[in-house]
Symmetry: C2
Subunit: 95 residues, 2 copies
Amino acid sequence: MAEKSDVIFVGNKPPMSYVLAIITAFSESNTKEITLKARGQAITTAVDVAEIARSRFIKDLKVTCIAIGTAEMPPREGENRSRMVSTIEITLSKA
Amino acid sequence: MAEKSDVIFVGNKPPMSYVLAIITAFSESNTKEITLKARGQAITTAVDVAEIARSRFIKDLKVTCIAIGTAEMPPREGENRSRMVSTIEITLSKA
């Protein structure tokens, strides 16, 4: 099998659910790299998840890339203008 | 004068106050580089600030480095254990 790169979307669940998803992804397949994607308030959660996974669970995990950006979201109900939200992508690799 | 590297701590003020601080720092002195530092929920604000400054105000601004980490905070009143909070450092450079 080729090496896979998985994507985990971080939302508003507790950080530990995403940490568990990372651990599962690394242990079940031959995944070498996982990218966490988040936007808006979940950006903080994504950073928490990366830090918890790295410091407490997977010792040889490294943050290899962090990128920030902006995404356009459709307007809320009753509003006319689309909203801009910040995004983050954190790539984690196992040595 | 030598080139300076400024640090702006991002807290819970509206993002635009920090964007203004960045614009001021770049225009008043010969600052070439500014580092935004934030922790906890302010991480999202720091990303917003970097994105707003870059896309709307300073066209030649580049994100040159993003680092995440963990800091230990003293326990809240009535608690015994110190808390761990995530941190972010975003370095912005003007071409």
